[in-house]
């Protein structure tokens, strides 16, 4: 298969995976502007709230 395509077709799963990787992993270098850990936690929290509300909507269908 081509190496550019992500296997997962579910955009919400992919977004969580993206945030998990891009904001929490990867090489950390001393850039002049970088994101603080507290900001990352905030994003995760926001994502969890968003995703649980999506799940609730789907269950109510």
């Amino acid at each position: 298969m081509s190496s550019g395509e992500l296997v997962s077709a579910d955009p919400s799963i992919t977004l969580v995976e993206l945030v998990d990787r891009l904001l929490d992993k990867g090489v950390v270098v001393s850039g002049e502007v970088t994101i603080a850990v507290a900001d990352v936690d905030l994003i995760r929290l926001g994502l969890r709230v968003l995703l649980s509300s999506v799940e609730t909507i789907e269950k109510q269908r």
Partner: protein, 263 residues
């Protein structure tokens, strides 16, 4: 919003990743700001994948504000990932954490010079390998049924609760539920640990935030991709009766194998 062309002081340099002697083609690739061209900054045999960004959007304060907007985050992490995926198709890439920005190219130069040895070594290790993400999703109800069907103690407890007065039957059912819950947890942990071991055996390196709910990343040689997928498909078939399903994502640039917490 400032109109017209921004002054150089209003711009920063967003760094996506680092490549070694093999250079990906970046012509026509657009950066996280949606307009600036992505380019290669070369330094002493290493290349940094960079694009300019407006500090009005990516400066310290702006960045903190924007990170509270999930729609902004979603758009930008996808853009960062798109750039790296393009590059990773053609060359080994060290992915940098999202939001690494330099105010001038001097800082970036210093990084590439100072960390040269370590960066080059890691790039060499990553050659020809890609990261795959595996998560398992557990259907608790089906797992519970599977436990119930095979556990003699559960049958005993269920029989004991039958035909008893309401209060006693209720307590009996509660005891059964607790028993089944604990057994289901044990079984899930045992199965997902075994799954991780089988997948890790096909991988060059593996990391797991292991518990009952497997969440792991595998660095797999491209030549062993099929083997890895086969192992996962087999696991999927074997675990289906227990209500355990695997979710595969990737291939990813090797984010999980370049940070501090790799093992």
């Amino acid at each position: 919003m400032a109109a017209g062309r921004a002054e150089p002081a209003d711009r920063g340099f967003y760094v996506y990743g680092i490549v070694g002697t093999e250079r990906p083609e970046l012509t026509g690739v657009t950066g996280v700001d949606g307009r600036s061209a992505v380019f290669m900054h070369e330094e002493d045999g290493l290349g940094a994948i960079v694009s300019e960004v407006p500090l009005a959007e990516f400066g310290e304060d702006a960045l903190r504000r924007n990170l509270e907007e999930l729609s902004w985050v979603a758009e930008k992490v996808r853009a960062h990932e798109d750039v790296l995926e393009r590059a990773a198709r053609e060359a080994p890439v060290l992915p940098l954490r999202f939001g690494t920005i330099y105010r001038s190219l001097d800082g970036l130069r210093e990084l590439l010079t100072k960390e040269r040895g370590q960066l080059a070594t890691t790039l060499e290790e990553l050659r020809g390998k890609r990261e795959w993400g595996v998560k398992c999703v557990i259907d608790r109800e089906r797992l519970g049924q599977a436990v119930h069907a095979t556990d003699p103690r559960a049958t005993q407890l269920a029989e004991a609760a039958e035909g008893k007065p309401t209060g006693t039957a209720y307590l009996g059912r509660k005891r059964l539920e607790r028993h089944l819950g604990a057994r289901a947890d044990e079984l899930a942990t045992r199965l997902t640990t075994a799954a991780h071991e089988r997948l890790a055996a096909v991988a060059h390196r593996a990391v797991s935030e292991g518990n009952a709910q497997l969440k792991a990343a595998y660095l797999v040689e491209e030549a062993r991709d099929n083997e890895f997928r086969q192992a996962l498909e087999e696991l999927g078939r074997e675990y289906e009766p227990f209500g355990i399903r695997f979710e595969l994502t990737g291939p990813w640039p090797p984010y999980s194998f370049v940070g501090e917490r790799t093992a």
